[in-house]
């Protein structure tokens, strides 16, 4: 059974989080990065947690690997948002150390998903938002 993808538009929060979606709307995947130490931060950061410097949203790589995931059979989303099962994963992007991003994994079956599997992210357009969706690389490309 192929996995599904939830359709839940982000609620604009008038915080840094909005920038993530503003960029995906423009087909860009960007994350905050320290202008001083060059380390990446998670999407909700307002300044670098290590040195307090300001952050700039820079283009992030679209390849990474599955750090962990769950196959959801009973969802807690607004009614009508999704079918199940769907797979949501925490992804470590290549070269983006210390930060994990979320991605829905689209797979022919949920059983194909595994920790360590390589994932390529594409930006999928829904009616009101653009969502990063991960597709598994062939097993030969697996990084342990």
């Amino acid at each position: 059974m192929p996995t599904h993808i939830p359709d839940v538009a982000p609620q604009r929060s008038n915080t840094e989080l909005d920038k993530f979606w503003d960029y995906t709307d423009q087909d860009e995947l960007r994350l905050p990065r320290c202008e001083t130490c060059r380390r990446w931060s998670w999407v909700g950061a307002t300044q670098c947690p290590r040195d307090g410097s300001s952050l700039a949203w820079e283009t992030a790589p679209r390849r990474g690997r599955v750090f962990t995931y769950t196959v959801v059979h009973r969802d807690f989303l607004p009614p009508g948002s999704t079918e199940v099962p769907y797979v949501v994963a925490l992804i470590e992007l290549d070269g983006v150390e210390g930060v994990r991003i979320l991605a829905v994994i689209e797979a022919a079956t949920a059983q194909e998903v595994a920790i360590g599997r390589g994932v390529c992210l594409e930006l999928r357009r829904f009616a009101d938002h653009v969502l990063p969706v991960g597709r598994l690389e062939s097993k030969g490309a697996e990084v342990s």
């Binding site: 962990t68 769950t70 920790i115």
Partner: protein, 385 residues
């Protein structure tokens, strides 16, 4: 334990725990406080301190509302502890510290939930954080079972975790609940029942997950010196520790590193040090078991086994009453009721009073209570004096 100005839990009170209560949340809290004061044999007018957690009660049942209801005109100490379950358990430690410091003489700690009857239940509560609807929900990363299922999945990858080990936690909880008056569990379960339970978020089935309900709990604390004159065996707050990860409530579940280590490592170390006891001295553990993996992670982080050994630790009846280290002897959040750690404190008190009947751990003298409300954690050590 030799502190002459030590503090003790001298009264406990619980409402009925039901899926949906007709009682409003504040009335449930008031009822629990009345029961706890009656249990302690102390008049409400003597209460001069109120402590609760910080994420739900300040808005729903604030201290001023409680004081006004009971005519607590001598109130001189009020405080909020940490997030959720860490705050509920931490409140007992904070109340004891206030008594030892001379800031208050009789402190009530309280907590109640109406997750069973309120729209959205326990899932509506974190939605107040911008990150939930502003970033996470579009990925379907929504609802506490998913966060802990992802922890369990990573644990499986790093250390191994079998269906039978998860099931062992749930089976012990329901067996304990069956010996606990007022528990919501419908009775003991078998491994077949566990395996037949509906899948929620892999690797969690419904029986890996906390109950959802309404109810309230309160405790009364005062000086150990006075406790000797009160009705029950004295249960002292021998030690307490709190610790918080650097992550926020919004970032913890996606960003915390080390991912499988909770701040219980530090709260427990502080609590054991202040109590002057070691994990090997502990007779009974009541820990925050929102999901089966929570029990396994905290057994490790509290110091009862090494990281990665928790899954094997729960096997073969070790955590059952009669086993080497009984855990959640009332059934916990999985099988007793979801009172976010408050009933764990009550259960520890009853175990140390030796009033648990069929659920009694023989000769229990040292209990550990652990509350988790990430990014926070609290550990309290109680002893029978």
């Amino acid at each position: 334990m030799t502190d002459t100005r030590g503090a003790a839990i001298v009264g406990v009170g619980e409402t009925a725990f039901v899926r949906r209560s007709d009682q409003r949340l504040n009335d449930a809290v008031f009822a629990a406080i009345t029961l706890a004061l009656t249990d302690a044999g102390i008049d409400a007018a003597e209460v001069d301190g109120l402590v609760t957690e910080s994420s739900m009660m300040p808005q729903r049942v604030p201290a001023d509302m409680v004081a006004a209801r009971f005519g607590m005109s001598n109130r001189c100490f009020s405080a909020h502890s940490l997030v959720g379950g860490a705050g509920v358990v931490g409140a007992a430690g904070l109340a004891a510290a206030a008594i030892r410091a001379g800031l208050a003489s009789v402190v009530v700690t309280y907590f109640g939930v109406d997750f069973g009857s309120s729209p959205g239940g326990p899932y509506a509560f974190p939605a107040a954080l911008d990150v939930k609807l502003g970033y996470e929900a579009p990925f379907g990363w929504y609802g506490q079972p998913l966060y802990f299922a992802s922890l369990a999945q990573r644990y499986r990858h790093e250390y191994g975790l079998t269906e039978e080990q998860q099931g062992a936690v749930a089976i012990a909880a329901h067996a304990h609940a069956a010996r606990t008056p007022g528990a919501m569990s419908r009775g003991p379960i078998t491994m077949d029942d566990y395996r037949a339970s509906r899948m929620i978020a892999e690797p969690f089935r419904a029986l890996d997950c906390s109950l959802v309900n309404d109810g309230a709990v309160a405790l009364v604390l005062t000086a150990e010196s006075r406790a000797a004159d009160l009705p029950h065996a004295t249960v002292s707050v021998a030690g307490a520790g709190v610790a918080s990860a650097l992550d926020t409530q919004g970032s913890y579940f996606t960003q915390h590193d080390p991912y499988l280590e909770t701040p219980a490592t530090r709260s427990a170390a502080a609590a054991f040090a202040s109590a002057g006891v070691a994990p090997s001295d502990v007779d009974v553990v009541e820990l925050y078991d929102c999901f089966t993996i929570s029990t396994i992670l905290q057994l490790e982080d509290l110091g009862f086994c090494k990281k990665g050994e928790g899954a094997a630790f729960v096997e073969n009846g070790r955590i059952s009453v009669g086993g080497e280290l009984p855990v959640n002897t009332h059934g916990g959040l999985l099988a007793h009721a979801y009172l976010v750690g408050a009933s764990h404190l009550v259960e520890a008190v009853r175990q140390l009073r030796h009033e648990r009947g069929a659920g009694q751990v023989d000769g229990a003298e040292v209990a550990v209570v652990a509350g988790l409300g990430l990014p926070d954690h609290a550990t309290v050590i109680l002893t029978r004096s």
